[in-house]
Structures are given as structure tokens and as C-alpha cells.
């Protein structure tokens, strides 16, 4: 009988990412309800020392797969190792991050294990020991609550920035287990050549706590500097609406909305964005929404906690100055 909850920890260059702790925290909450243990799966090279951190957030065990070929994520190596471990240990539930890595892994892992997979979930509950997952569809225009049928394990990915972090408990100890697995070089068909870091090294929109976003009202790419000044001050990431991206003012990676990124920061400041339905879908789970727009009838004001009717070219620089006084 399948037992226990697994979470797949994620790191970059050996540094655990925040989603790993969000997964352990949520895994702990579910496991307590089931009366079962939480194990974190940690794949990497010389990464064992990171196991204790996962313990502090609530993992009972950390299963470490250490191999130089696991230092950087590749689909083939990671799917192979996780699938082998799952086949031997038979966890009931596997949770991964709905990050780029988790989304790349999840479909392949589910197909290999012949299991059901719920992508990009924002809430989990249990029905007897069966996982029930709530996930946005149509980029958040609706939500589907799904469950699993004849699926062992039950696999799901959790959206970053949504699940609450446990308070780390420094006194918690954790059992660290060396995983047994085999990796055949002939299975490894993809190579990572390099990682090109984005200039500025800003937090990605999907993980950002604060976002300052600009739309058609920005009038041109040269005006984004006023958003960047505000963003720099409050440690935010700059986003854009589809019309700004389609006009070529901002790169595609900055787009928030249905054919861009779905975001859930604490604070979303929409500047010169009227609030097309596909944009609202992508940001309406933000905790606080501020809208700055000249048009008092813009749909964005219906979603905003704080609306400012006015010219963003006056308001945004003034806001930056006012916040400087507070900080």
C-alpha cells in the first residue's frame, strides 16, 4: 500500500529555491492530516548539507540522490531517478513545484509511472487519503477541483508563491537517506549547454513578491524607466500587458496574462493597464492590486484594492518620491 508524501526539492546551482520550502510546508500539513511522514527528494551533486534545511520546514526524511550528472536539472536524468525511487518506495502522493523545472518534469514522470497529474495547483485537501486539488483553468477565469482515480502515486505541482511557509523549527532533526539508483548515460539525451542570466538578476515574475506592470498607457518603451525607478525602490519586478509586449516595447518574458505569466505577488501595481479579461485572469490572485489609470471607467478599477485616477506620468514618479520618504 502506497504510503507517505514526497516533495521534490528544487535548487539552482546547489541553492534551494523558495518553492522547495513551500512544498515541504504544504506536504507537512497534508501528512499530519493523514498521519503519515513527509520525505523530501533532493537530487544534485554534493548537496547533502542542504537536507537539514528541508527538515526545519517539516520534512521527516530527506532522500538524497547524489551524482555529478544531477548537478544541473535535465529532464532525462531527473525523471529517471525520481521514477526509480518512486517505484521502489511507493509514495502515495508526490508534490513538485509548478516552476519551469516542475512543469517540465511532471508530464514525463506521470507518463512513466502511469499516474494522474494535476498541474499548477493553488490548494490541496484530502478526501480520505485521496488528494483533492484546486487549480486555475483558462488562466484563472475559473477553477477546477480535481481528484485522482486509480492513480498510484497521485502527482501534483504547486504554484509558487501561493502556499504558506512554515516557521522553520531549528530544533527539528531529519533523517538523511542515500538513495540507490542507476543512471545509464545512454538514457541522457539532452545536454545543458549554458544558463544565460537575465540582465539585472531580477526575481522572475512568477516568484516575485511585488510587481510594477505597465500597459498601453506607457505610450512607448522609453517610458518604462519610471516604472523601473519605482520597482528598484520597492524591490519589485517589472511586468507588462499583452498590448505592450505585442507592440514590441517589452520582451515576451515580461507579459502578464493568459498567454504570458500568471502571477500572484503580494502587491501588483498596474500602470496604464485598462484590464483586458486575459490580463485580469493572470493577476487577479495578487494579494493587493493597485491601479493607476487616466480612465475612471477602466475595468482594472473593479479589481483594484486601491485605484488612482490620474495620469501615470504624474502619479508614478510622485509615488516613488513619497515612498522614498517613508523608507
Amino acid at each position: 500500500m502506497a504510503q507517505g508524501i514526497w516533495i521534490v526539492a528544487e535548487h539552482r546551482e546547489g541553492e534551494l529555491r523558495k518553492i522547495s520550502f513551500e512544498l515541504v510546508s504544504e506536504g507537512r500539513r497534508l501528512a499530519d492530516k493523514m498521519g503519515q511522514p513527509v520525505s523530501a527528494i533532493l537530487l544534485g551533486s554534493n548537496i547533502k548539507e542542504k537536507a537539514s534545511m528541508l527538515g526545519k520546514y517539516g520534512a521527516d526524511k530527506v532522500i538524497v540522490a547524489d551524482d555529478s550528472r544531477l548537478a544541473t536539472y535535465t529532464t532525462d536524468a531527473y525523471v529517471s531517478v525520481i521514477a526509480q525511487l518512486a517505484q521502489v518506495n511507493e509514495p502515495a502522493i508526490i508534490l513538485l513545484g509548478a516552476s519551469v523545472q516542475g512543469k517540465d518534469l511532471s508530464g514525463r514522470l506521470a507518463a512513466r509511472l502511469g499516474a494522474g497529474m494535476a498541474q499548477d495547483c493553488v490548494a490541496f485537501s484530502l478526501d480520505n487519503s485521496n488528494l483533492v486539488a484546486k487549480r486555475p483553468i483558462y488562466a484563472g477565469k475559473a477553477y477546477a477541483t480535481v481528484t485522482f482515480k486509480d492513480s498510484s502515486p497521485q502527482i501534483a505541482t504547486a504554484r509558487p508563491n501561493v502556499f504558506e511557509l512554515n516557521e522553520p523549527d531549528e530544533s527539528r532533526s531529519v533523517e538523511v537517506i542515500d538513495a540507490e539508483f542507476s543512471l545509464d548515460d545512454s538514457q541522457l539525451k539532452t545536454n545543458v549547454i549554458e544558463f544565460i542570466q537575465e540582465a539585472g538578476g531580477k526575481v522572475d515574475l512568477t516568484e516575485a513578491e511585488r510587481i510594477v506592470s505597465g500597459g498601453r498607457g506607457m505610450k512607448g518603451p522609453e517610458n518604462y524607466n519610471i516604472l523601473e525607478a519605482l520597482a528598484d525602490l520597492i524591490d519589485a519586478t517589472v511586468g507588462a500587458s499583452r498590448s505592450a509586449v505585442d507592440a514590441g516595447w517589452r520582451p515576451h518574458s515580461d507579459q502578464v496574462g493568459q498567454t504570458g505569466k500568471v502571477v500572484s505577488p503580494n502587491l501588483y501595481i498596474a500602470c496604464g493597464i485598462s484590464g483586458a479579461i486575459q490580463h485580469l485572469a493572470g493577476m487577479s490572485t495578487s494579494k493587493y492590486i493597485v491601479a493607476i489609470n487616466k480612465d475612471p471607467d477602466a475595468p482594472i478599477f473593479q479589481k483594484a484594492d486601491y485605484g488612482v485616477v490620474g495620469d501615470l506620468f504624474d502619479i508614478v514618479p510622485a509615488l516613488t518620491e513619497e515612498i522614498k520618504k517613508i523608507l
Binding site: D104, M117, Y138, G140, V146, V203, Q278, Y306, G307
Partner: protein, 264 residues
């Protein structure tokens, strides 16, 4: 170079989603159905590779008869032929079920690359591509912004969009690639293209034609089951920040963010 493109038909992104009275599906009456936006990038990339390397582009769709319209659009853009799997037993398939159907179509085809959109903008699973790659035993590179095929057509180098940057990944062909917005600028179908598309072959297949056991797919085979579809939590419009001048409004907003919301 023979390329297969998997295509899904979805509601246009401007669609207002209404939940059906059963609480488990959406109202589809007045929906404008379009080719999944990410699949447009996949079709365009396939056509560009065909222009460079020669070969054929085949579009594969799964779904009801209306999906032929989207396949015809891809043919009008320049693809060579289409295949639609249409069978009442498909209804309720989950991502793995759809991947099994596509794998059954593809096992008899000759291909160097499979292109998919990174996800359907309807149910947003984003799983079919990678599940299909697994079932076919070929490498995958997902969420691709830039694609370069080696001169001899034996391998592919791709730029993947990841958090905070770009990951450059290489794989041997055949491989499956999923397209992200930014990969290219899809062309519009020309009038002569639309005329020509009407004469291009479009085969319709059933599960029996493909030798797929109906219990493996559709609602019966699905391992994910929808219990309920609900609207998003209503956000109530908050307060309009008062002020005589932009400076006053900005000061009041800063104060609200600081004292009220405690965000700053």
C-alpha cells in the same frame, strides 16, 4: 525534415468563461474556437524549418469535427496535410489519455521533430507534450524561445525560458519541442493559401482505426477527474484614492500602502 505539429482548438482568449449548470463544465454555446495560441508558434516554426530543410509538415488534432477548421488554418499557413482523431469515446480524456492517442497516430509516421504548444490556454495542464515524448521514448525540450537545427539535421539547440534567464539545451533528433510565445511571429494565411488548403489531405481517424483500446482513454481511462468547476473569488473594487493633485494622490496611496496594507 519531416515535422509533426500537435494542435488543440481552444476558446479565444477574450472569451468570458461561464460555468454550466452541472458545475463540472463550461458553457460552450457562444464560444469562438481558435487554434491554441501556443500551437500557432509551433506551426510557424515547423513551416520555417520546412522552408530551410525541405520535407513535410503534418498537423495532428484530437477532438470533435470543429477542430478541422483549426487544422485547415494551419494548412492554409502552409502545412502539407492534416490528421484529426475524432471519436465520441475521446470525451473526458486527461492529458495522459490525449498523449496516448497522439502516440498511436505518430507511431506509424516518419518524423524528425514534433512541435507542440507549451500548453493549451483552456485547461492549462501543459502535460501532453512531455507525456507524448515519454511514450515515444524521445527527448523533449519545453518552453522554447529559440530553436536552431544543426546543418545536417541531426540535432537541435534550443533556448528555454526559465526563471530569471535562459537555459540553452541541446538534444539529438528526433525530439519533441514545446513552443513559448516569442519563438517567432506566426504568419497569416494568405488567400491563395486558404484556397490551396481546401484541397490538402485531411484524414479523420477513429480509435478503432488507430487500434487504441477505448477504455485506456476518454473518461473511463482518465486518472484525473473533475469534481467541480467554480468561478474565481470575486474581488471587490476597493477604494479610489482621493486627492486634489497628483502629488496628493500619490502621497495618500503611499500612506495606504504603508499604514493600511502594511506592504511598504
Amino acid at each position: 525534415m519531416n515535422i509533426l505539429v500537435c494542435l488543440k482548438q481552444v476558446p479565444d482568449t477574450e472569451t468570458q468563461i461561464k460555468i454550466a449548470p452541472d458545475g463540472m463544465s463550461i458553457v460552450t454555446d457562444s464560444i469562438k474556437w481558435v487554434m491554441n495560441p501556443y500551437d500557432e508558434y509551433a506551426v510557424e516554426e515547423a513551416l520555417r524549418l520546412k522552408e530551410k530543410f525541405g520535407g513535410e509538415v503534418t498537423i495532428i488534432g484530437v477532438g470533435p469535427k470543429r477542430v478541422t477548421e483549426s487544422i485547415r488554418t494551419a494548412l492554409a499557413m502552409g502545412a502539407d496535410r492534416g490528421i484529426l482523431v475524432d471519436d465520441p469515446a475521446l470525451t473526458g480524456s486527461d492529458s495522459l489519455g490525449t498523449a496516448k492517442i497522439l502516440a498511436a497516430v505518430i507511431k506509424d509516421l516518419d518524423y524528425d521533430m514534433i512541435l507542440c504548444g507549451k500548453q493549451g490556454v483552456d485547461d492549462d495542464y501543459g502535460l501532453v507534450g512531455s507525456s507524448l515524448a515519454e511514450l515515444l521514448g524521445i527527448p523533449q525540450i519545453s518552453i522554447v524561445l529559440k530553436l536552431e537545427v544543426s546543418e545536417d539535421g541531426s540535432s537541435v539547440k534550443a533556448h528555454r525560458e526559465v526563471e530569471g534567464g535562459i537555459l540553452v539545451v541541446e538534444a539529438s533528433l528526433p525530439a519533441l519541442i514545446t513552443a513559448q510565445k516569442g519563438l517567432n511571429e506566426p504568419r497569416y494565411a494568405s488567400l491563395p493559401g486558404i484556397m490551396k488548403a481546401k484541397k490538402k489531405p485531411l484524414d479523420v481517424k477513429t480509435l478503432t482505426d488507430l487500434g487504441v483500446d477505448a477504455s485506456e482513454v476518454g473518461e473511463g481511462g482518465a486518472k484525473i477527474k473533475i469534481m467541480q468547476i467554480t468561478p474565481p473569488e470575486e474581488r471587490e473594487a476597493g477604494k479610489i484614492v482621493e486627492g486634489e493633485t497628483p502629488q496628493e494622490k500619490a502621497a495618500n496611496l503611499a500612506r495606504l500602502l504603508h499604514e493600511d496594507a502594511k506592504l511598504i
